[in-house]
């Protein structure tokens, strides 16, 4: 059984990056870093045990499923920014909240985004990942796309304010990473958000 070679991994990522370049966006070094970490997980073929103590005769069970076990506690948010080199510190408030079914940036948050755009304009090496989220109501894939719209709205505001596209990427967690548990508007309103994270 051959594992996916490093060469083919790099080739796959170069192909993806070439596509991105063709679309006019910048290559993302983080995908390569993250996938290298993931690639170290070695699949372990597991022979299903049904409690029988009999010795297995030769042959692969048709029910066999190999378990891929990813290391726990992957670092959230990626690398921290080179804060010492920043000419302007990033705002400490990192979250923009949204109304139900909406991806419009409310006026309350415009000063916050101004702060981010000035810090990023002053430090072109600073990058952010904008993570969009929804509350738990509705379908997962549709919510993933709604969260993406929220993140994209923040990215759009930032680039209109002068941030380079290469400094920001919009991604979404949909309803998969709530910050507040609960099935009421108090929890839901806390989950409808976009988080601005260092990358």
């Amino acid at each position: 059984m051959k594992t996916m070679s490093t060469t083919s991994k790099v080739l796959a990522l170069l192909a993806a990056s070439a596509l991105l370049a063709a679309c006019g966006t910048t290559r993302l070094p983080d995908d390569r870093k993250n996938s290298a970490a993931v690639g170290t997980a070695t699949p372990v073929p597991v022979v299903a045990s049904t409690g029988s103590t009999a010795a297995q005769s030769g042959g692969t069970p048709q029910s066999g499923v190999a378990t891929v076990n990813l290391a726990g506690g992957a670092a959230a948010g990626g690398a921290t920014a080179a804060g010492a080199a920043a000419l302007l510190a990033l705002p400490s408030q990192r979250v923009v909240f949204f109304d139900f079914d909406s991806y419009a940036i409310k006026d309350d948050f415009k000063p916050l985004l101004d702060g981010f755009s000035r810090a990023l304009a002053a430090n072109r090496g600073q990058k952010l990942m904008i993570e969009g989220h929804t509350d738990e109501r509705g379908g997962r894939e549709y919510n993933l796309a709604l969260g993406q719209k929220r993140a994209a709205a923040v990215v759009s505001s930032l680039t209109l304010l002068g941030v380079n596209e290469s400094q920001v990427e919009a991604v979404s967690f949909g309803e998969e990473r709530p910050s507040a548990q609960g099935a009421d508007e108090t929890a839901w309103s806390k989950n409808r958000r976009a988080e601005l994270k260092d990358r």
Partner: protein, 416 residues
């Protein structure tokens, strides 16, 4: 003759529980005996067969209070007198090489004849599969249709901060873990040959589509473009997948070669396009789009014609699933504050609710088109249910670790 034969609840057998509700229109009364030797083998073959047949809505089973096996001389008239239409008995015998010989006989008490008799030799690890195949053989004998008891279901379990992608038998048991992760996993999708799963993993801190070989565990990223990559759906010929990518700004549909490569854009709208699913002939794709306001289900031919809207009732319709014969569309509709499983006949447009619960998600058809699996919420826990298409027979699939949330079911194809 060992004393263990009459025990109905040896420890290894107790983990299997099924809750079934609803009365089917015509259920055959079938008496089923404990298979001789199944307690020693550690797999409750007869109970698995019974539950499979009951879940299909085909039979209601009765206990047999005698020790019978496939060689027994049975008085069918006496069984008929007790209101039994069919009788099942069998045995599980360990062979010298460690494999097991599973044998059974099915009698027709009405016609007073043997209906079916089979023997299969399997590894210990495949005893559950053997039981499901017995149920399939009986199902096919009684209905003329293929059973789905030997198929598998993939689903995701969240327990605390741990997410696991499980592959289990169609009854939700015998589960094995394909992926264990500290980050969410959503949207598992079976390859048509049942050997691979595509899924969305957030392990790299964004939505990325992976394809994994189930037996070896080998996996690779299919799509990790800028933004989110999700909603993988295999074409029936396995050569490509439809996916939802946000790399162009809004989430739109693309086609990708199954081995990875350059996405080819499929939809162009000013809204969100997502949740693609191929029709069985591979020539069109159903999908969700909110180009008209709220999300609705559309159908687009791969030949380039404009998408046609398919759902018209209500303002929020998502998560399409298409029956193998192409006539039925299962989906989720939002009604007030609830999300409900619906079934639409694509020939005449009639729509009816299949459940009376409020948090339904992710319907998926069995490959014989007779059952749906879906996720819903019962008393605060996310659980998986199967239902017949008339909504009458519902089964809750219970997992071994209760209290864990089960979601995102995907029913696998025929054949292993």
């Amino acid at each position: 003759m060992t004393s263990g034969l009459l025990a109905a609840t040896a420890p290894a057998l107790a983990q299997f529980r099924v809750e079934i509700s609803g009365i089917g229109a015509t259920q055959i009364p079938l008496a089923a005996a404990v298979f001789r030797g199944e307690a020693d083998a550690g797999v409750a073959v007869s109970r698995i067969v019974r539950a499979d047949l009951e879940r299909s809505g085909l039979v209601r089973t009765l206990d047999v209070d005698q020790e019978l096996d496939e060689r027994s001389a049975v008085d069918l008239a006496q069984w008929r007198g007790r209101g039994v239409d069919a009788l099942l008995a069998g045995s599980v015998t360990r062979l010298v090489d460690g494999r097991f010989d599973v044998r059974y006989k099915l009698w027709d008490a009405v016609k007073n004849q043997e209906l079916l008799g089979q023997s299969k030799v399997v590894l210990a690890a495949d005893l559950r599969l053997a039981a499901h195949r017995v149920a399939d053989e009986i199902h096919e004998k009684l209905t003329g249709e293929r059973g789905v008891n030997a198929t598998r279901i993939a689903y995701v379990v969240r327990a605390g901060r741990r997410f696991t992608l499980h592959v289990t038998d169609a009854d939700g048991e015998g589960g094995q873990v394909a992926l264990a992760s500290p980050e969410p996993i959503i949207s598992p999708a079976w390859s048509p040959d049942g050997k691979r799963l595509a899924y969305v993993s957030f392990e790299t801190q964004k939505a990325v589509i992976w394809v994994q070989d189930l037996i070896t565990g080998q996996r690779s990223m299919l799509a990790s473009f800028r933004g989110s990559n999700s909603a993988p759906a295999w074409s029936p010929d396995s050569r490509q997948l439809a996916v939802a990518l946000s790399q162009a700004g809004l989430t739109q549909l693309y086609l990708m070669p199954a081995g990875g490569g350059t996405p080819q854009r499929l939809t162009r709208s000013n809204g969100i396009d997502t949740e693609p699913v191929f029709a069985s002939d591979g020539r069109s794709i159903f999908f969700v789009s909110d180009r008209g306001g709220g999300p609705q289900i559309y159908r687009v031919g791969l030949d380039g014609d404009a998408p046609q809207r398919v759902t018209f009732a209500g303002s929020y319709n998502i998560s399409p699933a298409i029956s193998p014969d192409g006539t039925q569309l299962a989906f989720i509709t939002r009604q007030g504050a609830g999300y409900r499983l619906m079934l639409q006949d694509l020939n005449d447009g009639t729509v009816r609710a299949l459940s009376d619960t409020q948090d339904d998600e992710s319907p998926s058809f069995a490959p014989n088109g007779r059952l749906l699996v879906y996720a819903t919420r019962v008393r605060g826990n996310d659980v998986l249910m199967t239902t017949t298409l008339d909504g009458k027979i519902k089964t809750r699939l219970l997992s071994i670790s209760s209290g864990a949330d089960m979601r995102e079911p995907a029913w696998g194809p025929f054949g292993r």
